[in-house]
Amino acid sequence: MSLTTKDKNTVKTFWGKMSGQAEEIGCDALSRMLVVYPQTKTYFSHWKDLSPGSAPVRKHGKTVMTGIGEAVGKIDNLVGGLITLSELHAFQLRVDPANFKILSHNILVVLAGMFPNDFTPEVHVAMDKFLSALALALSDKYR
């Protein structure tokens, strides 16, 4: 399910609209993930506060969205462009790749809520494909 030229353009255009609120999106998506999929909390046992919108959640949401922004810029070669991030996730963070899907879903839920008119089915499918491709690139170095 590779990204077509149309998908890439759709993603870039939509990113242009949403990037101004990237921090908010990241914070909300991460907050939801921790509430709706409590098993994901296991990766953050070192945080003082895992409640929605807390300081560590907000900070990390921003980190994640910065990574996604980087990926948008490297959309023509995600695997090649995200080697460092993949190595980080593979060797240091060791996040089970199943969780990328979970976070992706929550990002889509937040986008639907924040951009009800812009998050059309076409934008939805392009973003879903992009986040899947991104997850695949992030898992590239795992084994």
Partner: protein
């Protein structure tokens, strides 16, 4: 048996009390067919599914989306025995409709997204958790009679 907290029961009841079946049902199914195009395999007799616009304006798809959404009513009415409430529907989807049960998950994801789109910030993390738990239980029950 699934345990529901009082808060979860209230949250779910509230969603259904305010649910616009015509709007949400039609949008959710259309979105599913667009975002996960392989799901179109079950709708060969439903007319023009050629592109997103065609799907979103297809009256047969709209009507069917509403029908599917009403299929959740029996879960709301039988929260403490969803598994058995869906036994016949599960058999129907397996034996007659031959639907891959993974599709139920895809549709329920689209449903959550359409509801989020409608409710905005009112679709809180707690509400999302209760709603998705509810859908997971229904999806499981629908897949239960497959063999």
């Amino acid at each position: 048996m699934v345990e529901w907290t009082d808060q979860e029961r209230t949250l779910i009841a509230n969603i259904f009390a305010n649910l616009d079946y015509e709007d949400i049902g039609s949008k959710a199914l259309a979105r599913c067919l667009i975002v996960y195009p392989w799901t179109q395999r079950y709708f060969g007799g439903f007319g023009n599914l050629y592109n997103a616009d065609a799907i979103m304006n297809n009256p047969m798809i709209s009507a069917h989306g509403v029908k599917i959404l009403h299929g959740l009513d029996r879960a709301v009415k039988n929260m403490d025995d969803i598994k058995n409430a869906y036994a016949t529907l599960s058999e129907l989807h397996s034996e007659k409709l031959h639907v891959d049960p993974d599709n139920f998950r895809l549709l329920s994801d689209c449903l959550s997204i359409v509801i989020a789109s409608k409710m905005g910030y009112d679709f809180t993390p707690d509400l999302q958790a209760a709603w998705q738990k509810f859908l997971t239980v229904v999806v499981f029950a629908l897949g239960r009679q497959y063999h």
